[in-house]
Symmetry: C2
Subunit: 323 residues, 2 copies
């Protein structure tokens, strides 16, 4: 995968340091643990959360060592949730490599995730971060769990509704984006107003990012995305495009297909056609745009500096993926 941060060599370089801190914090662990986590870390991913955190830090007094450690903890926490998600989804691949649950078993994956959670908290207690921030970070992870559980509960439900969908993505995605920008700022002695503003930006970016991700599961191209599409439908996660389309589909054609337990390629193609026909994609794009606009409007309120320019560009790149 092309490095998302290529145009920002300073941040790309710092994220390499963050990766090394993550590795340092797990290198003493059991052999299989270490190998599989190293593999996951090296396989990359965009490292959005630590990247955003490092950008937010630049709005204040940037204590590098302290912030790298915080960024590493947040990324590690994100990895822990991914490892546990892969158990639920019985996912075989993540970032192009075999998942821990597939390679070493669900048992292993449960404990690996738990172990990473603990390592995070060990890292978070290494520097003099504020207790308030530790609480906020824990609360954000707690939000993720709640979001995932809500999503899991509503699998195969034809009445998820927009409100529930927004709650799900707010928990599973936006909360960690928000906390990354917020703590990055707050731990760099930004004032409360700027820190909260950055937190809000993170929230809006996270919401737009997840909606776009969900749209791409319908419209995307497996090859270009680097991951399989239409997996949400198959797993029973009916996301925004379907939710919008179901509302318009007065004859219940979509429900008819979904109620039928066998969803194969033919049904998926039919579903995609219907979701388009009932403007599910179009409306989802509009909602993503709304969150994107909110993000940009909030970014405008930030004090002028180089970091603001980077944040604007990164947000643009992130939220204007071809979808």
């Amino acid at each position: 995968m092309k490095n998302f941060w290529t145009n920002y060599p300073e941040i790309a370089y710092e994220l390499e340091i963050v990766k090394n801190i993550i590795k340092d914090n797990i290198k003493s662990s059991e052999k299989y643990f270490k190998e599989s986590i190293f593999e996951l870390v090296d396989a990359g991913g965009k490292m959005l959360r630590p990247g955003l955190l490092l950008i937010a830090s630049r709005f204040g007094n940037y204590d590098k060592e302290k912030m790298y450690n915080l960024a590493a903890a947040i990324e590690l926490m994100h990895s822990a949730t991914l490892i546990h998600d892969d158990i639920i989804d019985e996912a075989r691949f993540r970032r192009g490599i075999e998942t821990i649950q597939s390679k070493l078993g669900k048992e292993y994956a449960v404990y690996t995730g738990d172990f990473l959670f603990c390592q995070c908290f060990i890292m978070l207690s290494k520097f003099n971060y504020s207790m308030d921030n530790l609480r906020e970070i824990s609360a954000a992870i707690s939000q993720i769990c709640k979001g995932e559980i809500r999503q899991y509960n509503l699998r195969y439900s034809l009445d998820t509704g927009i409100k529930n969908y927004l709650k799900i993505i707010s928990g599973k995605t936006a909360a960690l984006f928000a906390i990354s920008l917020y703590t990055g700022a707050w731990e760099s002695q930004c004032d409360e107003k700027t820190s909260k503003l950055l937190g809000r930006i993170g929230y809006h970016v996270g919401m737009a990012f997840q909606i776009i991700d969900d749209i791409l599961d319908f419209t995307g191209d497996t090859l270009r995305l680097g991951k399989k599409t239409h997996t949400d439908i198959i797993k029973g996660y009916y996301t925004l495009p379907i939710i919008y389309a179901i509302k318009e589909d007065k004859e219940g054609k979509i429900k008819d297909i979904l109620e039928n337990n066998i969803i194969e390629e033919k049904e998926i193609q039919e579903l995609i056609k219907l979701v388009n026909q009932f403007k599910g994609i179009e409306k989802s794009r509009k909602l993503a745009d709304k969150y994107t606009e909110k993000a940009f409007r909030s970014i405008e309120e930030l004090p002028e500096c180089k970091a603001k320019k980077i944040l604007k560009e990164i947000t643009h790149e992130l939220l204007s993926r071809n979808y």
Copy 2:
């Protein structure tokens, strides 16, 4: 189950407060979460770790509210690890009630455990505990994960050996006993010497406790124990009695049975006979006694006070179960 703390009404009462704090900290969560965790909390268990913590607190300046919250966090953390253990063991019952993994599915159990971990850390960031302690607590949980993984890796291994066995139980049991007594003392302004001494006592008690538990899996009575026996052998966890017996069993009779994949009641009875014959139980009891003696010797070093008397009695009750 008879309340383990009946003879210590003050602590029994405080542990009820601790239970309520646990409930308060999860009551805002999703319905199913809440119900299943409430059920687990109400089903009880001995609440050894918070109980020991509250005893340790009495060696210093006992700030009740702060210590109750800490005790609740430790118990919640223990519950989180149990919920995840039940996934691995595919356990159907725990404390006489159906496990979360059995009732609501493994997926649910993964997120419930994660959610509890987060709630713990939220609780730990509520009071002004020392960062050092947060790190120690995180490290103890990390030890549990490592212990569990080691145990999982060595399932069905006929060459586990005593050293590995001790590492496993040190991680999965003794670490949390140690940290409960240590943090209880340290957060109550005990001096370093007393805190560390209490930590060591917790470690020895934990080691003896787990060895006894493992012996009881061979010699115990399902009805009296309130849990099924011989489950370790069936799950492929070859604990101390077997490890000792294998060493003496020069003809490899035990290995022959274990290498045979079908372990049914007949084989179990044969195994128990052999484990007794090769002094597996006897030697395990001796090692448990050694840790028990170490615990009592360390207790003697503690300053004289009412808490010391309670600790001695509780340790006696805990480590002289009929085994």
